[in-house]
Every structure is written in structure tokens, then in C-alpha cells.
Homo-oligomer: 347 residues x 2
Amino acid sequence: MSTTTSRRGDSLLALRFEAGALRAIDQTALPWEERELILASAEDVAEAIRRLSIRGAPLIGVAAGYGVAIALARDPSLKSLELACEVLASARPTAVNLSRSVQRVHTASLRAHSDADRAAAALTEARLIETEEEAASDAIARHGARLLGGARRILTHCNTGALAAPGRGTALAVVAELADRGTLERALATESRPLLQGARLTVYELSKLDIEHELIVDSAAAGLLAKGAADAVIVGCDRVAANGDVANKVGTYGLALAASAADIPFVVAGPTSTIDYDCPAGAEIAIEERDPDEVRFAGGGIVTLPHTSCRNPAFDVTPAKLVTALVTERGVASPVDACTVAALRPG
Amino acid sequence: MSTTTSRRGDSLLALRFEAGALRAIDQTALPWEERELILASAEDVAEAIRRLSIRGAPLIGVAAGYGVAIALARDPSLKSLELACEVLASARPTAVNLSRSVQRVHTASLRAHSDADRAAAALTEARLIETEEEAASDAIARHGARLLGGARRILTHCNTGALAAPGRGTALAVVAELADRGTLERALATESRPLLQGARLTVYELSKLDIEHELIVDSAAAGLLAKGAADAVIVGCDRVAANGDVANKVGTYGLALAASAADIPFVVAGPTSTIDYDCPAGAEIAIEERDPDEVRFAGGGIVTLPHTSCRNPAFDVTPAKLVTALVTERGVASPVDACTVAALRPG
């Protein structure tokens, strides 16, 4: 492990494949410590995804692709391929990018004619996924900035920047693009309990980007939106159903209700790799329930009696009708419904 | 200071007047430490209110009444009276109970014919306020339990039990009454960031009352309500405007939106001392903005970069139209509007 993080120009590089291993910023240690993990096996990568050292729907997809390639570089057998795919695809259940990315690398590997070719094919596909997601991030930033050009103050939830996706991210890439264009006055970031991705990661990214921002507790958002504190809300997504329902970080649905009540746009940004056309509606999406200790602890300290029973859903589902627009690299769906979402389908 | 808390039978006694001083459980130390503060001056009481050692709209009203009496017991002059009233009434801005209680003790004191009588008159009025609020709590519990008799799982926010009001409290008194009647299956408690009154105090009270409960982060409420996790939401109130708009702990408005979307009752419980008939609508209510460090820290640890700019409104306003019923000691207003709220006016 090294203590220096990687940058590409001004932008943060959440992970990079180098010398046969995946090097990733340990996002559980941010913003206080910039620590790099070196992940040299599929199990290492899966574990980093499970414990949220690597997180964000597009980023875990990219990481999982490299995870398969790493396994095949060590042992190119079909058994090794299957084992790696299984451990990686099952690391987290909600974001579809993970299983889709593993599936892509799996398919590419099987096309290889020899064991030796198999590892190379996997790595080529993993790199292609990363390149595609990086290009998607740029396109999302442009489409989103066009859509929200008039918004001077934007509220965002969780972390959706360069730590969540290749390139500049998804929703936060739009915020950054608006800042670059000089029209953004300020971002409002929710802390995003239980794991505080807003307070820890979004504030960290906004600080590095020199974007004016204010942090709030999650439950302050609705009242502040009612008082006109933001002109729009933009969030990412972990899985979008074919009908446009959006599974995203817990708290997203409440923000959508509050934005609707305040009559301001509620925008979801993500690559089309996040759309699951095999999932008809949000009710079908598996919502991960995580360790109750994530609720019992915050900021390193316990916040309740030690054995308190907790529920800890990591995501919630926002009905398509509350989403003003879905911004992808292939364009913007608005209104968001089965028809407009189908129109974004590649090929 | 002693380390033993006071109980009356099974119920928790958040404060008691004894030997010329106000003894209060230091609520900032709960649930880990049961520490009693001995407050021997109006300034001591005001400071305990400011730092939330004593909190909850009805309870700070009662404490402030005793604060005036304590000042007059030491120095019964009119100057002492005015000083005590000023420091206590300005301790916190949002709950109307505070200024109203101070005003009542002030008026009662001025009716006294001598300095000696003045201190006695103040103490008598302070005790009367406490007795009235205790009776109000019992009546609220009965009215609320009748209203919500069919609710087996109830979500509540912040802390509204015996630590927030004399007797068994307000909203949590209704939950406790339903548990006593054997119809309640479980309470769902929000943690109530930033100061975690739900995680620290409500969980503590529910544990002592042996009521089944689960703790969630604030932003999980909307998604869980959409999935049918509760049959009703009940909260307290810090100030109710004449038109029925409710100022309460930040996050209340978001819960009201979520309850409305889930088509379940959203009930507000509080004594009529919390209704401000001089305030026409919620937009007129002063919303306290507290120290940004309350957002920057949680569970004793820092959750973001040290100098992050934060907004920290302690309350928000829920429009009357989102409130299914307002439960007071004088009965239930439902629907909640200027007309039904006026009908609750004493005298």
C-alpha cells in the first residue's frame, strides 16, 4: 500500500490497473486519509467492493471487470473464470453494473481460443468497459449541464463524482460541468447516513474542485427545498428499471418527494449500463440490507444503545413519475417512462 | 451532581424542583450516562436549555417557569424578575412554550403584593404549569390511542417521551399507551440527526418501557413507509401556527410528505401550550439555526472535513394540509385548519 493517491491531471483517479493488480483509493478512509489499496485477486476486489472501499455503481462495474482479468492472469482455466465471476457478481446485489460487467468479461473470455488468449481477452474487455464509462461520464456532464443550465444552486445526495465512476462521475460530473461553465453558484450536499458518502466523499471532491458548497444532514433537505434553497436536485442511480423507476442510495426517494413538492426538477444521472431492461419495475429490484452496525455507529462513535435492533436498507426506489429527467450518455429521457427509457437502449 | 436519575414509579422524571434548585437529567449524556444536573440560577437553567441538556417544547416551558421562581427565591426584586425572564425566554427561539411559560410566571409574580409573596407566587405558577402539562400528557395519550387504535407499527421522529415533556410525553406517550393496551407491535424510531435524539433518547425510553422497536437512519423512512413498514407516523411539535402549520424537529416535513405518499396517517401530538394563536402561519415561525459543528460531528467523531460550511436548521415547517390530525389534551383537530385549531383554544 502507498499513501499517495493517483490523479490524472486535475481529476481524481479512484482506481487504475497497473502491473497486474488493481490499485484503488480506499474510500472508507477518506477524507482523512488518502490510502491506496493494491488488489491482486478477484476475492480482494470483491471484498473491497463489499466493504465499500470501491463504490458507486459504474465504478464497481469497472472494478469487477478488472477483477476477472486479474484472476485469469494468474490462472486462465475455465474453472478460475467461473469462480472469479461468481465471487465478483455476488459482492453486492443492487447495482446492475456489477453483474453486467462481469458477464461482459465472461463472454469475451469464452471467445478466446486458448488459455493464454483468455487472460488477454478479459483484460481487453475490462479496459473497454472503463473507457466506455469514462466517455459516458463526459457525455452525461454535457447533457446534464445543457438540461440544468439555469440552475444556480443544486442539491445532490450521496457521492456521484470521480470516486463513484470513471471520469468525473455522473450527477456530480454535471455539477462540476456547470461550475466549469461559471453558472453554478453553490452545491448543497447531504451527508448521506449511514456511511456518510456525502459528508466524506462529496465534500472532499467539491473541495478539490474548488466548488462552493454547504453540507446538511439528510433530513434538512426537504425543509430547505421548500424554502427555495436549491433550483434543482440531481442524484445518481444504482439500477434503473425498464419503466424508469430508480433504485439509488437510501434517501433518494424522500428527496424526490421534496423536490416535487417544491416544484423543482429532480434529475437522475447515470450511464445506460445502469439501466436493467430485464427488470420491469422498481418493485422487482433487490434492495441490499447492510450491517446494522452502520446505523449504530457514526463518525467512529456509537450513536445508540449497543444492542439496538436496526433496519439498514442501503437503497430505496423512486417511482419514474417523480423523476423529471434521466440523463445518460445516450441522451436525456424526459418524461421518464417505459417508452423514453426504451429509446435509450443501445443497438 | 449525582449519578442517579429520578423515577416516579416506572416513569422517567426528566426534571424535578427540590430544595430551591431544578434537578434535571442531562440529556446530552444519555443513553450512556445517567447524570443529574443541579441548576441553581435562571442562567443555569437557560444554559441547560440552550445546550439541550433540557429539551422538548413542553419540558423547556416547565423548566423556564422554575427558572424564574429560582431567581426570585434568591432575589425577589422586580429587576431580578425582568432579568430572569429575559435570559430564559431568549434561550431558544422556536418553541412557543418557553416564552409563554415565562410570561405566565412573570404575570403571576407581578400580582404579588410584596417581595416575599413574589417568589412564592412564581413557584406556585411554575408548579401549576408542570401539573397542567402532566395532565395534558395523560389526555394526549388517551386521545391519540383512540385515534390510532388500529395502528400496529408506528414510526416516530426525534424524542417526544418522558424526556421531552412532563408525564409520559406527547407523541411517544401515545405509542406507550398503545403498547399498554396491547395493540402495538413495534415502534420504528428515526435517529434524528444531527443530535440523534431518536437514536439516543427515544431508543433509551423505548428500552425502559420494554416496547419492541427498530432504529433507522432518517433518510430510510420514506422508502420504508412506501413499502408498508408502518401504519402511521406520529411526531411532536415545537410550535403550531393558528392555521395548523407545524414547526417541529428538522425532518418532520419530509416524513409528512412520505406518509402522505404512502397514504397513512401523519399525526402531530402536543399540548395546546404549543399552539401560537398569534402566529398566523408556519412561514412566520422563527426557525433556529444551530452550531454547524452539530452537523460536522456525530457519535463523538468528525464526519467531514473540519472547515466544511454547513447549514443546520433545527426545525422545519409542515403545512397543515399534510397533517392528518393534531392531538392535544383538549381533543383532536382533524382535518387540521384554522377552524379546527381555533376550536382547541382554551377559554
